[in-house]
Symmetry: none
Subunit: 200 residues, 4 copies
DNA sequence: TATGAATGAGGCTTCATTCAT
DNA sequence: AATGAATGAAGCCTCATTCAT
């Protein structure tokens, strides 16, 4: 009888614990030895569960991204009145700001690693999932604005990562709110495709 | 004195030529030997002009960023009617999209390199310069929205870097336009500091 | 006692199946994990039956060599007329050429492994057995030429392994035939040292 | 002014010095660190002159082989009477036996390394060069026996590597002599296939 | 100024072997 | 008997940096 270990479960456990280190230091700066030490295993074990550093990182990133999407969308439960959603969302984003910044950085690391290998569909998928979730939860069905608002949130995390003192999360929230109200009031319904430009 | 001029001139020349390679491949992926080969000099010479790789990269990034700000603001000459500025800006951004994406990536590389060394004021400065320029050129004086719109533009480049097919630059422009119009129509002038949320 | 038989039988079974892999890829290139997978057992089991990789390989090589000698000598049954033996032998060698080449390579691997451990008598024995068998089957009793012809056959396999297109097996056979005829007919007695039994 | 070093010359110097270690221990057993230590340089330098271990080994082998062919053929100067050549050759082979054995072993290492990479023409060439040289120096022009005798010599080295006490170099020489005399005297021409051009 | 040979610490990875079950 | 997770020493290789010229 072998030691009873569910292979996949153990793998995910390793990935989950890896996240912190990669997030903190970036893909390139984390060495396998260091990672092993952090996980309290041998370097050999890492290669028992993963073919190489790149694959480990990718699996970790994919796993964490998917988990995150679930968490965020759960936060914006469909029953919450639309008017409260924005502040709930931003409260959540503010509380986990550095986590999202890490995710962002890792997405870039991931992309650099993968453009050459043609495995970038993973990121496409994740961006799509987030964008759709935003459209769904903020009642923007069919507007294509989900992805644009997603851009905006990414930009916010990005800028505040580089220069945290230039603008606040609250300021970003206000602008989005402004925008959504504008969209809502526009009397003539938004034209298909993109729409806009209504004004009385 | 003339010596110094020559020296600095040569230094800037090397930095300018370095940009392409760093932009294309990222800080970590570029080796000093490769860089030297690209610049058609010896590795030894690089260390004659720069104390190390990090410093070279930082000088290059700073130089290129400053040049870029000038170029962008020049594009939005003060004499252009405000109504045209947005489309001119976006036309310019679209034309140089991959350049700005590279700049973004290099900013991150730069930041990672420098948080530990307390030299991150460089980035703060650059973000500030861009944000102010936006406020100035888009008539948003005193709103603090310049940095938020800067976020938005960063986010756009960022998202389109990761997943170019999810949303277009045009869609981003439309949303910004929408937003600016909303801001303009809001009857009671925006309160100082951050302001807003007035009317109905 | 029955236990022992089972144990040994299983051991030989594992060794026999191991041969193919080692022959194909060489001692160094075969990993224990790979071997285990091929044998459809766990790595742990290999270490239950053999103290280490080296021992496993040695046992395998010894077993297979002995089996082979039997097979070759059987091929040259004593009842076959001497004039036919050579062509029968070469037909056999030609048919199993790559097998013999593998054996040759493994002999070298084996030797490299064992010179340092003083266990090289195994190879001495095997060479002796082959040489004697040749002398016996080709009527060269007492000439010491058995080992020389063995050299020649090894050389043939060796050269054709490195450069198969330079010379054919048939060409080698013809030279041996020529040689044997020469020995049989040589009127002037061979000088001492080698000599013997050439009869008027 | 750079340190004056002829790149190719230095490369060959490193290769030449490498030979001893590889010959003694075999490709797989020599580590780059060990090799560097032996050559009294850093590991980094090895990778400055050679892209990797495999390439280093291959270049070394090719260089040494070519040098060797020259040396052997020089030994059998065309002016030496044919009757003496065999004993001169064998005296030379005997004196450098372990060197040739090493070359043989390295040829096998080389081959294993290269079959998969389709670079095995190198060995073909070397075998051909040796075979042709033998035919030329032993007056066997047009017989195709050069390569067969080359086989024989390889076999001799091979067998005496594995089991030095079974047969002597002298015994091998006698058999070759016998064979050559047979070829010279054989009145009835050899059957087609092999044939050719001796008899008055 | 300029070269490029030389260094060596350290990165990723492999693999024989052990051990808890 | 048998499993396969786990270990860790050691291999190949990279690359920022230095230094003799």
């Amino acid at each position: 009888m072998p030691k009873i270990v569910d292979h996949d479960q153990r793998r995910e456990e390793l990935l989950t614990t890896s996240f912190a280190l990669f997030a903190q230091r970036g893909y390139a700066a984390v060495t396998m030895r260091e990672l092993a030490r952090e996980l309290d295993v041998s370097t050999g074990l890492l290669y028992y569960y993963f073919p190489n550093k790149e694959a480990l990182f990718e699996q970790m990133f994919t796993l964490m991204s998917r988990r995150d999407v679930s968490r965020v969308t759960a936060e914006l439960d469909a029953t919450i009145p639309i008017s409260d959603k924005l502040s709930i969302l931003f409260k959540y984003l503010a509380k986990n700001e550095s986590h999202f910044q890490n995710l962002l950085l890792m997405a870039l690391d991931f992309h650099r690693q993968n453009v050459e290998h043609g495995r970038d569909h993973v990121l496409q998928d994740i961006v799509k999932i987030y964008s759709d979730a935003i459209e769904d939860r903020l009642n923007l069905h069919g507007t294509h604005f989900g992805s644009v608002i997603f851009s905006f949130l990414c930009g916010m995390f990005f800028q505040r990562y580089l220069a945290p003192d230039i603008s606040s999360i609250e300021e970003h929230r206000l602008l989005i709110q402004q925008l959504l109200q504008g969209l809502a009031f526009s009397n003539p319904p938004l034209p298909d495709a993109v729409n806009h430009k209504r004004h009385a």
